[in-house]
């Protein structure tokens, strides 16, 4: 299915990442957003509030992020494609509803423009320290998808991808921007609507009598319904059976929780999104994501100028973590260098996936600004030594 032209601002624009993300939501077909102001993410909903009345849809500014993140899900069950936007402290408040979206398999998008933390931290300055929170922040076991754009263009493109994946797998999708990418202005090309592929919501074709709310298809994902269509379905955050009814048994729990993770398996390795270069002859590979990937690029060029054989692997899907790719690379190189704007988060995943086959060197940074490329270069030099 192609994008609804009403939401698509076809043309060449000069936009920052936050604004580009907003255009991505509109192109993806989002017609509902619930938000709460928080730096450095507010521009996304500010633009949505400005754009949506002439596109046809609703923006509502809620009383807090708890409300925003569940109002969005109400809208999804009402039939809309919907999202919410936040940053650190607001993301912390939204954790409960990431769990609710996961267990009720509500397709929706959480945009997190990461800033320095913990707590109020650095409202206007970057970090990438919510990466583990995105995966593990809500209690219990569940699966989510997280994408990391590194430019305004990708903020647009990956927002559409994010909405599509949310529909395909019926999971909450996190768009993990950072303050740098959110506030960086670059050329953003928005294609014609018929050049934008949209995954429609897969509504059931079954009758209300036949339909069971959480009966999975072969791909382990159940069909959707929406309120008002006569299905009289029940949605609950309690552990539930295929009818959607609460069932407090070990069996139901086992079946439900496993499926919530298993349904993402096809995505984990086979369809992970990444950018790789110069892996063939690499002795060392820099694994990075978001804004840090662009800083790392300079370090890579400096290293190559010194004759070091260094490759790059940029995580675009951070979650599910593309472990097989990292395992394959680790088998061929001396070391993996992982710079990130936190004190060591995704580096643990790299380490786990490498399984000791290659040295893994983290380049932590507490945030507030980006790495000095020289620091990454030093780590690369150390790695080949």
């Amino acid at each position: 299915m192609h994008a609804d032209p009403r939401g698509v601002l076809t043309g060449v624009h000069f936009l920052d990442g936050d604004h580009a993300c907003c255009e991505g939501t509109l192109a993806a077909g989002a017609r509902f957003a619930a938000g709460y102001p928080i730096t450095p993410s507010t521009e996304v909903v500010e633009r949505f509030a400005w754009r949506i009345p002439t596109v046809g849809g609703v923006f509502i500014q809620m009383e807090d992020e708890l409300a925003a993140s569940i109002t969005m899900q109400g809208a999804v069950w009402g039939g809309a494609k919907a999202f919410t936007v936040t940053s650190g402290p607001g993301f912390s408040l939204m954790m409960e509803h990431i769990g609710y979206a996961a267990v009720t398999e509500t397709p929706c998008v959480f945009v997190n423009v990461q800033r320095g933390g913990p707590s109020t931290g650095l409202p206007t300055l970057p970090a990438q320290a919510d990466m583990m929170q995105a995966k593990w922040g809500s209690h219990g076991d569940y699966g989510i998808i997280a994408l990391c754009p590194n430019s305004p263009q990708e903020c647009f493109d990956l927002t559409i991808t994010g909405f599509n994946l949310a529909e395909e797998f019926r999971v909450p999708v996190m768009l993990m921007l950072d303050e740098c990418v959110g506030h960086m202005t670059e050329k953003v090309v928005i294609p014609e609507p018929d050049q934008i592929e949209i995954t429609p919501r897969r509504y059931t074709k079954k009758t209300p009598e036949e339909f069971r709310l959480f009966e999975p298809r072969e791909d382990k994902v159940p069909d959707m319904v929406k309120a008002g269509d006569g299905y009289h379905f029940h949605v609950t955050g309690l552990t539930h059976d295929e009818r959607g009814y609460p069932s407090m048994t070990v069996d139901t729990q086992d079946k439900m929780v496993n499926r919530l993770q298993d349904k993402l398996k096809p995505f984990t390795n086979g369809r992970a999104i990444f950018e790789a270069a110069d892996l063939e002859d690499a002795e060392v590979v820099v694994v990075s994501y978001g804004i840090t990937s662009r800083v790392a690029q300079r370090a890579i060029e400096m290293a190559r100028a010194k004759g070091i054989k260094v490759g790059k692997f940029r995580l675009i899907t951070a979650w599910p973590f593309p472990e097989q790719h990292i395992r394959d690379i680790a088998a061929k190189v001396k070391a993996l260098v992982v710079p990130e704007l936190n004190l060591g988060q995704m580096v643990r995943e790299v380490e786990r996936s490498a399984g000791g086959a290659a040295k893994v060197i983290g380049v932590p940074h507490a945030g507030g600004t980006v790495h000095n490329p020289e620091v990454i270069l030093k780590a690369i030099e150390e790695a080949v030594r």
Partner: protein, 202 residues
């Protein structure tokens, strides 16, 4: 035309339209010249009313590293910005300043820096609106650096302001550009000194 990577910093105080000036330059290259540009800005408590600065990188190729540490060109619209950022200029770079707001000479510029001044506030006031001083600066920048196609810059100005403000802003751009073009013309005359134009020069 193929351009080398150029790094620009524009700085002043909040409310002067520093970000808009940078955005116009970035947009001119990214949209109206078909090249690439990346604009970043310093956010922080100081972004509300205090000092303000924006960085633009211009290139013919996609820009990977998006930050400016040592700019080729510095445009300053306040004394504080001048003092703070002048030492970071690349040797042989270009310093563009608002004549009435900046008193030069307090810090040492790196070697070989070319200095150009423009009384942008006065020129803007002549148009009846002091607020367009940023666009006067953009026009002047266009003329003295010859880095961006003037037509592209003009289109970017038009594209960056509300319709009701287009005429005024284009006039501001033209005024700044003309001032710059005349300054360059005078400078190429053998007897003209390499100093900023002073009040009542003309």
């Amino acid at each position: 035309m193929r351009r080398l990577l150029s790094e620009i910093r524009i700085a002043g105080f909040g409310g002067q339209g520093v970000i808009l000036a940078a955005s116009v330059i970035g947009k001119a290259v990214a949209i109206f010249e078909g090249g690439y540009s990346t604009m970043t800005q310093s956010f922080g408590p100081e972004a509300r009313g205090g000092s303000s600065s924006a960085q633009v990188i211009l290139s013919s190729d996609p820009i990977l590293y998006p930050y400016v540490t040592s700019p080729d060109i510095l445009v300053v619209m306040s004394q504080e910005a001048y003092t703070r950022f002048t030492p970071q200029l690349k040797p042989g770079g270009i310093l563009i300043m608002e004549n009435e707001l900046v008193q030069p000479g307090q810090v040492a510029a790196p070697e070989g820096v070319h200095v150009f001044g423009v009384p942008a506030t006065r020129l803007a006031e002549e148009l009846g609106r002091k607020v367009v001083l940023n666009i006067v600066m953009v026009g002047f920048f266009g003329a003295v650096t010859n880095l961006v196609d003037p037509d592209a810059l003009r289109k970017a100005v038009e594209d960056s302001v509300p319709p009701a403000m287009q005429k005024l802003n284009l006039a501001a751009f033209d005024k700044g550009f003309q001032y710059g073009a005349e300054l360059i013309h005078r400078m190429t005359e053998p007897e003209t000194e390499l100093v900023p134009a002073q009040e009542g020069d003309e």
